[in-house]
Amino acid sequence: MLKELFIQYAFFLHGSKRYKNIKTTAYNFLLNSDYEYKKYFDIFMISLIVVSIAILVYEVKNSVADWVDFFDIYLVTAIFLMEYIARVWVHNDWHKQVVKEVGEAEFLNRRVSLWRPTKETLKGKLRYLLTPTAIIDLLAILPAYRPLRVLRIFVLFRVFKLLRYTKSINQFLSVLASKKFELFTLLFLLVFITVTAGIAIYVFEQNENENIESIFDALYWALITISTVGYGDISPVTPEGRVVSMMIIVSGIAMISFVTSVIVSSFSEKLDELKENRIIEELNKKDEFMIICGYGQMTRMFLRYYAKEYTNRYIVIENDKDKVDEAIKEGYKAIHEDASRHDVIKRFNLQYSNITLLALTGNDIANIYITLNAKSLSRKIKVIARARTEKMVKKYQLAGADSIVRPNIIADRMLYTAITQPVMYKAIYAILTGKNMALLDEVNLSQSELLVGKTIEELEFKKQKLLCIGLQRAGEEGEFIFNPPAKTILEESDILLVMGRKVSIEYFRSIYRKVKYV
């Protein structure tokens, strides 16, 4: 009976949109670095940590007011505790395991076990609890336990907790982690020299030097000397001891140089990667952005004219390092990657952002592969691809490209118009390039209550020195009405196509303020 209730509860949670929304929001705040508002949560937590540590330092020599104590002990700790519990909660889902178990049990015709999914969920949560970051989170809560004053020192773990919220420290650690082998080798060498020198000085000076009474003193001296700190509290008095000193000092200098060079080289190796990660992270926070694949003539031309309109909302992916350097030199945001690779496109916020991908390399095969790669990851990505030949268009369509641009066809048609209709060539050119005198603009009615229900006649386009060219009815397959009749009634989600001077359109905009321009 109880089991049935638990199963029903699991299914209720599984189907509840509200529960899902709450958990997704919690996940976004705690773990999704692409989430726009996560940074505010991080700043709030960092502030709490800093205040908490400041109180600890102040308390060493001063007494603090009761409310400060209350704030530190109860409020800050309560927030940390809630965060800790929330992290454990979002780590995995019990209801999903139960639903899976029920499905499998039905399929295999066996009894449903509630213990199996519960065990799996608990195991997952336990694995999380044993991770270093979760342990730090727990230790950061302990200082609140007043009967044990010694636990106050665990406030320092709140400093470590900063690691969660500051990317730069994490990045520094990840760079060091990439040179783990080199750093461990140097550490081993350091231990070896320190122990050898410590034993040597102990043997030579134990009876001669009153400051060296034990092997610990000798090891302490060796470490202080090899690090080139040299406090001077212990110094060799015998010639043998001084020789050991000289050797250990030279080794120390060499060791420090090695460590420095390893860290510096790992940083220089990782610098580009860190920069690229930062660009992608910034981009992933945007609601919509553009990925431009390839830095050829067309990308150059596109960015030359439109980079300002898409500031901070685009990235160029190019697999030729020289071209990437060239793009960066021109002031564009570019990274050295292969856009046809699955893991490269996967780094972008495919779930939450509206992404437009421009496949503009000079190679049709590469562009088709890039299109397929993007579409296989998310059908939501809008792909605009460049086709070199007419024969390729069908292939791009099959690959899922939403729009196909054929530079030669466009240019040929422009040439044709320039010859056959020279007078209006300039007019068309102005319309195409969006010149102020003849802007062709779209007015989306989806969010405008002011325009919906009105007739074309009522909008008095002529009076406002605008031309109503057409009306696109809602939906992808919606009808396009050219030169709509005066009595046509505007409907929600229609798109009006108007032409006129920029100032006329701005005025139209001011009348119908809720009009959304696409």
Binding site: M298, R304, V405, D412, Y416, T420, D441, K465, Q472
Partner: protein, 235 residues
């Protein structure tokens, strides 16, 4: 049909497209190439073709070029294309030179060399991409207007003498009754420049003015015939 000639320099897909579509529009069209292979290919395809050294000014000078003809430079090599434009501009300064460019820098050079119109392959494509992103409905319409196979287009119409439109004010005439939209015109009284109808100027139609309209081809053709009539223009 225009009583004009077009001389196209270079043999490529662009030349083929233009040659096929311009035959109806122009009374004479010749492709000029500077290599034997292209010459044979163009000849085999049935085009009127001429082989000459285009770097030789004497050879170019011998071409029969009038002031209202078109010189179309679509050479594959952009160095030669710029050089040819310069040579043609020096030899025939009043003739319209239309050139195809494949880079921003080549466009600048073609401008300096004297090309009257330059179609930059990548600039028009960049504009197209931007329009797809920002004005998808408008872009579809423009694509239809540009596509020769569509039944929908732009059309220039000359107002003939004694037309029903003669001396009619632009604001007083209802084009929508004819299913077309007047985009702009060349008002001979004011200037020889193209004026958008939305520019706010009060235009009067007179014989000799040129109208630019958008609409379905049938409606545009009917309207062109209509304005030749002498009845009173409706208001």
């Amino acid at each position: 049909m225009f009583n004009r000639k077009a001389l196209m320099f270079g043999y490529s897909n662009t030349t083929k497209f233009l040659a096929e579509n311009l035959t109806k529009e122009l009374h004479y069209l010749v492709i000029i190439v500077d290599d034997e292979e292209s010459y044979q290919e163009a000849k085999k395809a049935g085009y009127r073709v001429k082989l000459l050294d285009i770097t030789d000014d004497n050879a170019l000078e011998e071409l029969d070029v009038a002031e209202d003809d078109y010189l179309i430079c679509v050479m594959k090599d952009h160095y030669i294309n710029v050089f040819l434009t310069l040579s043609l501009h020096a030899l025939f300064p009043k003739t319209t030179i239309i050139a195809l460019s494949e880079s921003y820098h080549a466009t600048q050079k073609l401008k300096m060399a004297g090309a009257t119109r330059i179609i930059d392959l990548y600039q028009v494509s960049a504009n197209r991409i931007h329009n797809i992103l920002t004005k998808p409905v408008a872009t579809k319409l423009i694509e239809r207007l540009f596509s020769p196979e569509e039944d929908f287009s732009f059309k220039e119409m000359l107002i003939p003498e004694n037309s029903i439109l003669d001396t009619v004010m632009a604001d007083d005439f209802d084009f929508s009754k004819h299913g077309i939209i007047l985009v702009g015109m060349i008002d001979k009284r004011l200037s020889n420049q193209f004026i958008f109808i939305t520019s706010g100027l009060e235009n009067r139609f007179d014989a000799g003015d040129t109208l630019v309209c958008i609409g379905y081809n049938d409606d545009l053709n009917k309207f062109e015939e209509y304005i030749k009539g002498k009845e009173n223009a409706e208001s």
